[in-house]
Symmetry: C2
Subunit: 246 residues, 2 copies
């Protein structure tokens, strides 16, 4: 049943709105399957193309999605990575510089480390220490080091138990790490300083020492700046290039 044709909004948008509404009032609950495109086209009295365009909108808003390799569309709960990707894209388009991201991380990360010192669970502490162990074995493999550093900071974020900061970080980490990889690949003894810093951070967390955790996290991030200095990396205008290498 097509909505009033006087209000000239494209059909695909009208249909999107109606389906969104159904999802929001749980007329369609998370996990439910959508009818097939043909059925939808039939029941809305429009052509399948219009339905498809509406579906694309729903999909991109993360309201529906499908399991890998499956055909059926399901109503889904919003996922994290999609949002973070969108934030990253926005920052790239806004031409945010590496320096700005650096500053932001320098602001957020130490604070999260301090929170982690207060709230870390034994389980996460264990994971952090496992990360240290692995790092010790990869001291000269820049590629793995980058991954491990990323994992380390993700664990730290999780340990902080602050999802607001975690969400804030999300969009930036993807932009930050490509640059870090470059540094790790070009500095001599790449993993050494990193490992020392990570060890101090974990140690401080284990001791529940907020100040120390914060301090070492800050030093660790500041090391990044030093690395850029050494390699002559320009904080002003490299974000896009680096992100593309990713």
């Amino acid at each position: 049943m097509i909505a009033n044709p006087l209000q000239r909004a494209p059909l695909y948008r009208q249909i999107y709105d109606q389906l969104e509404a159904k999802i929001v009032n749980r007329e369609l609950k998370v996990g439910d399957a959508l009818p097939s495109e043909t059925d939808l086209a039939l029941s809305y009295g429009v052509h399948r193309s219009s339905i498809r365009e509406a579906i694309r909108l729903l999909e991109e808003n993360d309201l529906i999605g499908r399991a890998a390799g499956k055909k059926k569309l399901l109503v889904t709960a919003p996922k994290k990575d999609k949002l973070s990707r969108r934030i990253s894209t926005t920052m790239l388009i806004d031409e945010v510089s590496l320096g700005e991201v650096y500053e932001a991380i320098l602001t957020i990360e130490p604070s999260m480390a301090a929170m982690a010192a207060e709230r870390v669970t034994p389980e996460l502490l264990e994971k952090l220490e496992a990360n240290l162990d692995t790092t010790r074995e990869a001291l000269n493999d820049p590629e793995r080091l980058t991954t491990l550093d990323q994992e380390f900071h993700n664990l730290l974020a999780e340990a902080s138990k602050n999802r607001a900061l975690q969400w804030s970080r999300l969009g930036m980490s993807g932009l930050f790490y490509p640059a870090e990889r470059k540094l790790l690949a070009n500095l001599k003894e790449p993993g050494k300083r990193m490992l020392v810093a990570h060890e101090h951070i974990v140690g401080a967390i284990k001791d529940r020492d907020k100040q120390a955790a914060e301090l070492w996290a800050r030093r660790h991030i500041e090391d990044f700046l030093r690395g850029c200095d050494v390699l002559g990396v320009n904080l002003g205008d490299m974000l896009n290039d680096l992100a593309q290498e990713n």
Copy 2:
């Protein structure tokens, strides 16, 4: 030119990816017009339907859009409100607590104040002072005070010249301010402490005193916590309710 058909991703998604990439590397700059659907279909060697579906995705990601009543699609600068709304929604769904948002703001805001002290432009300083003036005249109007505080912090964010932190803030401010409004509405002499803090912050910025700016911004945020204490507001579980009042 269709991409490798071995990698089974739908054409509409491949085309979306390619167009997104072009926008991100500014091959298509903000303000540029997109070719017509027919042209795109021709140049990508696909059917117009596929192009249309790709366009729906771009549109929903706020990468392109069209002026009201116009036909031409333009590359658009991502609008802040749309993204921030989505971040807020996600946080709400994730059931982030007011306490977490408070902590995040407490982390970010002082840092931004310090940056503002370094980088503020005369123009923004002027706006900040204008905000103070208006605040002095609204000391007992909680509604206006809330708006003014919001504006104040937006100006501060702008003055910091750090867009990474600005984007980080976006999703949270919408969640934070409803709570603040509640406080301002229920505390006696609502605007007094706020104004004093704002004045100190602006003063410090004018003096280019990073430390002082940071300190006063921190105190200002911490005041919020005190207010919650006084009113017995629970930092743990009020986010959803407050956000809805907005």
